[in-house]
Symmetry: C2
Subunit: 484 residues, 2 copies
Amino acid sequence: MTSPEPTPDATTNSSAGYGAHPPGTKTPADVPTDVPADLIITRCTALVHDDHEQIGFVEDATIVVRGGRIESVIAGPVDVDVPAAEHTVRIDARGQVAMPGLVNCHTHAPMVTLRGIAEDLPIEEWFNDFAWPIESNLQEKDVELGARLACAEMIRGGVTCFADHYFSMDTVAAVTAESGMRANLGQAFFSSQGAEGREQSLEFALRHRDTADGRITTSLAPHAPYTVEDADLAATARLAREHGLLVHIHASENRDQADTSLARHGRTPIEVLADAGLLDTDLLIAHGTGIMERDLPVLARATGRIAVASAPRGYLKFAWPTTTPVRALRELGIPVGLATDGAASNSSLDVWESMALTALVQKFTESDPRLLTSRQALHHATLQSARAVGLGEEIGSLAPGRRADIILVDVSGPHTQPVHDLAATLVHSARAGDVRTTIVDGRVIMRDRELLTLDVPAIVREMNERMPALIDRSHGKRIQDYDT
Amino acid sequence: MTSPEPTPDATTNSSAGYGAHPPGTKTPADVPTDVPADLIITRCTALVHDDHEQIGFVEDATIVVRGGRIESVIAGPVDVDVPAAEHTVRIDARGQVAMPGLVNCHTHAPMVTLRGIAEDLPIEEWFNDFAWPIESNLQEKDVELGARLACAEMIRGGVTCFADHYFSMDTVAAVTAESGMRANLGQAFFSSQGAEGREQSLEFALRHRDTADGRITTSLAPHAPYTVEDADLAATARLAREHGLLVHIHASENRDQADTSLARHGRTPIEVLADAGLLDTDLLIAHGTGIMERDLPVLARATGRIAVASAPRGYLKFAWPTTTPVRALRELGIPVGLATDGAASNSSLDVWESMALTALVQKFTESDPRLLTSRQALHHATLQSARAVGLGEEIGSLAPGRRADIILVDVSGPHTQPVHDLAATLVHSARAGDVRTTIVDGRVIMRDRELLTLDVPAIVREMNERMPALIDRSHGKRIQDYDT
């Protein structure tokens, strides 16, 4: 098990930055003068982490990007003469905050196609009467258009990386490459598919890992302990260790599932994962709102890097009785990344909203307004989310050497002024729509709200033409039954 | 007591409109051809209510405004030849939904100045250590700048009307007039001010009612039962009846207040209001999350028009154990309007978010995903909010004869596509930032996101200059103690 997460700034409301030379930043004298930069962002306020992962802000910062990575975050109001070339992109980011791009740690991107089709329903009816019957109609083209629209929505909301768990993932991989986003992709499987499902999930993971110039990483993606049998879970754990792959799975999604698992098998879903050896692999657990007290020592004994992705909007919408137990997981050192789940249930891929809701819902469910401060919420949104998708060393922080996944957030609007505490402004006042510019691997994929890699009207037009065939449920089929 | 609220469309997810001629709309033949219109909105999808207050959508609608009121909502894709003049404003609203402007049913607009200054704290510390010490420094100019910034934020978020409960309300009235918004304004008072507070509240209400071309209405505004004595509450009730004024008060804000009231006085805050005669006036109760089972028969016996304003974000943030009991109030026929409270506690004046959170939090706290459907949320946002601020006959619906308080909401963005159920799209996928155009009394005050009545950079500049003096707490004073 990893050591406990630090508790970033649980007690202070100070908005002070680090002064002119925060940890991990450079002075102008450190900047090489001979090689031209690819991207130079000037005059922003930069969100950075110190050596204890405390969040601070560098005023009037210059960020230099070279070869897809952050080379330096230069502090202070000095005018730095960074060497540039014809290809160098310059962004004057006055009035904007530069922060690590958001990570959607668990989604089913192509399901945006079904956004709003099954509202105000319990999860059983949502799955059995809508999602799974409709998904039996799903064609590659539907997945392609859905993934494109989802990428457009995420880029506009400041999401630079997503962990996707769905079908037809070759298509999602192609769209990810085209969109310029970063993703961890897993081909979902059920035991009802026989051995073939698991094999395809592995083939997908091996074929696509480190593609799209390294922006695509992959997972093995068993659906859930209630749809994948113990033998398949154990085989997945062996394959993950053999190939060094992350495993991404729904588990203990809600209290009902945990109760049913206990009643049927005498074990919680987390105990099922442990028995299968999955807690000794790198594991991303989606939701975990049904994690029980008895699961905590089981998780504490894990030898793999375990993380949980939390999508609080959906839990409220389905009226689940509990939410992801963030405090208990923090005490175990288990990162909790932010997520939206699919838009067919959640209505949205708005990770910014997930950040705010995580703070608000944790305060409410733990009955403590001091819990989950804005800085803690930003820690979930940055380093913890990066770790959750297996990229803890690559993204999640504006630090030299990390991939240049950066968003620029406008805080000059009337709803974000004045700024007494920039962390609070970002979490509780700013919105996804305040993201002006989205950058992945140093490449600008949205500038001043204009998407540079995707054509939304064209996607929507084609999607709507295909809709009648997609949503037809007269065949009476479904791809699976929801019966935990 | 009024008759029970209808339950708008609790069971169907249909997004169908009413066809070519929905209730309350006209055919092209009904449009007078001799008098030019002031404003013509074409090609929008219009949100309308039928005779049973069910919400539907009219496709390809034309809305004609004359003399500050909606003259007609014309259904169907016909090109209507509405008489226009040189002064006629025309808006092509393709891809946009026209709906009644949102109403912020309880706020303290000037408190935006303190947004983010006291975060992650219980309400006692928030009041006693921050809000009330700082408010003892408050100058007219601070209130003016705060109110301006708040109006800017609300207009950009599609809010056309707000109910404000604060100090220096002459200033807030002047800013309301300048901003072009509609408001119900009340000068707050405590019994600690002696009779003067109550008298000033009345003088304010009489002096400003029906000013700003009728856009300003007024209330008497006792702070709360724990800061205003029984005799003052009773006097307020008499004055309200004598002058035909609404009373706007904080009451049973949270469970602690209700418990303390019971322990100290043997009565709940609602019973205190009843004993003072305030339930026999038109009464707007802010929050009411502490309303108890025993309060329900008391509310049922009320002879005044009672309403409750709910600001769910703040309840989560303060980790209050309960939220406004919307279902119980609905059964009593008591409208629940949407609100944000002040931005110093709530971080935001985003009524759109209040709409979504009301739906999500009610599902969660009532443990029922079928509760508070999107159409019900829109009913709270429109007719119920209009009733809450005493304007149930004037605003809240796009119906002929109502004041032309209209917002145009862009649903073409990737986060709001595709549309399977427009009510769900509006409540759960759209955001405040999707409001493109805001119209009050037929006057456009924001067009394509550009504010036409307020200059945000100038407001912020001046506000920041005054900030050090405003937030100084070294004097050790406060305007009041929070001790329920």
